[in-house]
Symmetry: C2
């Protein structure tokens, strides 16, 4: 207040800063136009999507198909003239596992095919299992005795508890303007715990009982365990029951079957009717390479001061094993591949290096992206910074299906909001304009955010993502090709703007 000179200087600095920000965020509209033109009129999204799904198949972590997918991706990068293409190991993942045969049907009280799939990494059945089904009604330790010595080679199941309701609401949707606006609001504080202490105690007790049951069934040498899953009308969600651990401990062969088929067997048994099942699982274990990999490729930077800096874009290519991981996440990979293809096709000479990362093993715990970060960026536990920590301006990720981009989550990074607002302007008419300060989780940008490097995931129209992801029906038909074309254009623009910006994107403090 009494230091006019200083105040004037501050005012001047402020004005200069504002001016500079405005200058920085001037968007190169001609380039935006060229990106749109290339992306919309020469889109290769459909072809890439076909290859990633129909052609390469399910891409479970460690599987032969995933190996093929990495090879195919890097060949595509080669074909497009990208640089520094690498299939880069980030460390050990575990055992590969392929399904060679899978079949299950009910034989009694009448023959009926069952829609079912082996749970990931379970052992095979060693030929056809034919057996009556034993219903395991185990709710306490004492119940195990009822079954001891009686289950060898048998098909077993626990009671079914799922209730299926008709879909009185549409299973596919796009966000309305109001819903997008609502996605901006953030509530501070309050008790957000989803579970009461009683619920947690009950869950722990159930988990302990489940683990005991798993060990019991293995010891009893059951022939096959069947479980029901979420989903209905022939859609089956996936989980794993076996292990990719290199300790090679055996697991019970296990299949998850359509909820209705599971319900049928359960109701028959509860009503005192015999049910017999015939089933076969043949699997192949891959023990020649336990490493996990990401595929990396670049458009090298050209500015002598900035080319050591990096803008990253990526998506995970691994999937679950009975669909072809179309919406989760061939869609993200196809969009990211297309985004870098667009930039390469336009022969841009970016100031910073643009690097695409096709992550492995996301579904098993973000292993690919976390492995990359650990190897090149920083150790999130010790806080040790590595070579790329201060070089990466931003990492852009796509992993919420194939719906078009409606905006972006900035993970509480207030400083990027005005920047992204400017960058999204040319895409308002394509439906993308919502900048929300909210976080979003559960995919690879989290690995970067965890070490203080800006990582972003986009708001996408959900379409019917929730109905099909992680299921046997996550197939090519789920992919919305027009939506993905829009997404690729927007991401190419975001990456371009990040590469050309005078400064790296502002960061939140990492402490």
């Amino acid at each position: 207040m009494n230091q006019p000179n200083k105040l004037s200087l501050l005012s001047l600095a402020f004005l200069l800063f504002i001016g500079q920000t405005w200058a920085q965020e001037q968007v190169d509209l001609e380039m935006m136009h060229r990106i749109k033109t290339e992306g919309i009129s020469k889109s290769q999204i459909q072809d890439i999507s076909f290859h990633l799904t129909d052609y390469l198949g399910p891409r479970l972590s460690g599987s032969t198909n995933l190996r093929n997918a990495r090879a195919w991706t890097s060949e595509k990068f080669q074909e497009w003239g990208l640089s520094n293409i690498k299939i880069d190991s980030y460390g050990e993942f575990g055992r590969g596992w392929n399904v060679r045969k899978s079949y299950i049907a009910m034989k009694l009280p009448y023959y009926a095919q069952v829609i079912g799939y082996p749970k990931a990494w379970t052992d095979g059945t060693n030929g056809l299992v034919e057996s009556e089904v034993t219903l395991l009604e185990i709710t306490s330790d004492a119940d195990f005795d009822k079954y001891k010595g009686k289950l060898k080679g048998k098909v077993v199941m626990a009671p079914a508890t799922l209730t299926l309701n008709p879909a009185f609401e549409a299973e596919a949707k796009r966000w309305t303007d109001q819903e997008l606006e609502d996605r901006k609001s953030i509530n501070i504080g309050g008790n957000n715990a989803r579970y009461t202490p009683e619920m947690l105690a009950q869950m722990r007790a159930q988990r302990d009982l489940d683990q005991k049951l798993t060990a019991f069934l293995l010891a009893e040498e059951v022939g096959l365990r069947i479980t029901g899953t979420r989903g209905s009308f022939g859609t089956v969600f996936h989980t794993r029951a076996g292990s990719y651990s290199t300790d090679k401990k055996p697991t019970v062969p296990e299949m998850e079957i359509a909820a209705e088929h599971y319900g049928r067997i359960y109701r028959l048994l509860k009503n005192g009717k015999s049910v017999s099942i015939e089933a076969e699982i043949e699997v192949e274990w891959l023990d020649d390479d336990y490493k996990g990999y990401n595929v990396l490729a670049e458009i090298p930077g050209t500015d002598k001061n900035l080319k050591a800096e990096i803008v990253m874009l990526g998506a995970h290519i691994d999937s679950w094993h009975a669909g072809t991981g179309a919406n989760d996440n061939a869609a993200g990979v196809a969009v990211m591949m297309e985004a870098i293809r667009i930039l390469k096709a336009l022969n841009i000479q970016p100031k910073r290096t643009i690097r695409i990362a096709i992550w492995g093993e996301e579904e098993q715990g973000l292993f690919g992206s976390r492995g990359y970060v650990q190897k090149y960026v920083a150790d999130r536990t010790s806080k040790e910074k590595k070579s790329e920590w201060d070089k990466i301006s931003a990492y852009y990720n796509l992993d919420n299906g194939s719906g078009k981009i409606r905006g972006i989550y900035v993970e509480g990074n207030d400083m990027v909001v005005p920047i992204f607002e400017k960058w999204f302007e040319p895409f308002h008419e394509l439906g993308a304009k919502t900048i929300t300060r909210r976080n979003t989780g559960s995919t690879d940008h989290v690995a970067f955010e965890a070490v203080g490097v800006p990582g972003f995931q986009f708001i996408q129209d959900p379409i019917d993502y929730g109905k099909g992801y992680h299921t046997n029906m996550d197939l090519y038909e789920r992919m919305q090709i027009a939506d993905m074309t829009q997404a690729a254009v927007i991401i190419a623009a975001m990456v371009y703007n990040t590469a050309q910006r005078d400064e790296k994107l502002p960061r939140k403090p990492w402490n």
Copy 2:
């Protein structure tokens, strides 16, 4: 105008007639109350539904399961103390066919299970078929030559043309009051032809080509033909390709597979990638009894003048073969069985005889109900009337899934409108009040209507009937037990009222 005496007489007759109608349609509210109480508090709908679906399985016309279902139904009638229980042959149907094994998977470019089912009455594959898939691109007679001599033992398919769109509208619904009101309106005249002459010509040409293709594939001894179907997300609609004809002509083994799986194979082939399939169909033919049957049972009438007259209620018990025909039409059978169970449990002594008919072979052309009508009611071609023609007051049918009753179609029978309006009054609060003069088709009441005997089908909430009927997923979970409980109560009331009414229900002229 100038004949006052006659006019007065007419007026008097009119007033007497009105008075009589009012008197007739007084509803016995105590009985309505007893029916509701029995039906709602002691409903056996759930147990009957379980047995018809889970326990008895798919009930394809002529199959072992359908035989078992007829036996189970008649035993149930016995248990309830019904009279004159008969498994009544109406004439010849054809060959029975059971699936003993069904399996299909893709082997190349990678192993993937395929959701697929044999088309009804096709021949088996005689062991495992393993073959590359040949895409048949046949749009004219000349195209056959391309494939001649090259298809023996091969798996073949035609191009896929289905496009799958996300479900932006709810797949299950209940009628709104407005929609029910709209169901009353009838448009007269106009050209209602769904197809132009050009479209019809094109359809005929396509049908001819299809028939030629079928004959060609049989002559070439292909190993398996696969086709796509309506449905998505694992739901597969059924048709038949084979024949139940007693001439025993061989057919090509044929499977219909999930649209996405069909699309995948097609896209791979169109992109020049090899696809190989392994598949097996084992079927069993039943040649010991070609007859078709209905199950009949009664609560005999007790009024000496009216007991020879009949009120009928019924539903078809046959289904398609990969689901368990839950909504189509175990639901209808369960409701009709429950309706007569309610009446029997109340120990009513009906004036007219109440007869339930559990029809066979509806899905193949209303054979059961038409056979019954031909045998007992009338010949619809020659117009010859048989013993029951003037005895049946009404036939009530249920075959639009398991959604609750919202009203009734009176098939243009203006005379029954005021009667049914009165009869529905006690059920308005249960959601049933719409009397529409419209026709509805495609199920067994048509057989009675065709010979001038009043046949009625109810307006039901569709729920998700359209999504699951005739599919592999028409299973127990589709049945809305609470809705069916309502339906059974209403039908029991309608049947009771019809049995007790002084006159038979008014008929439209049959000429």
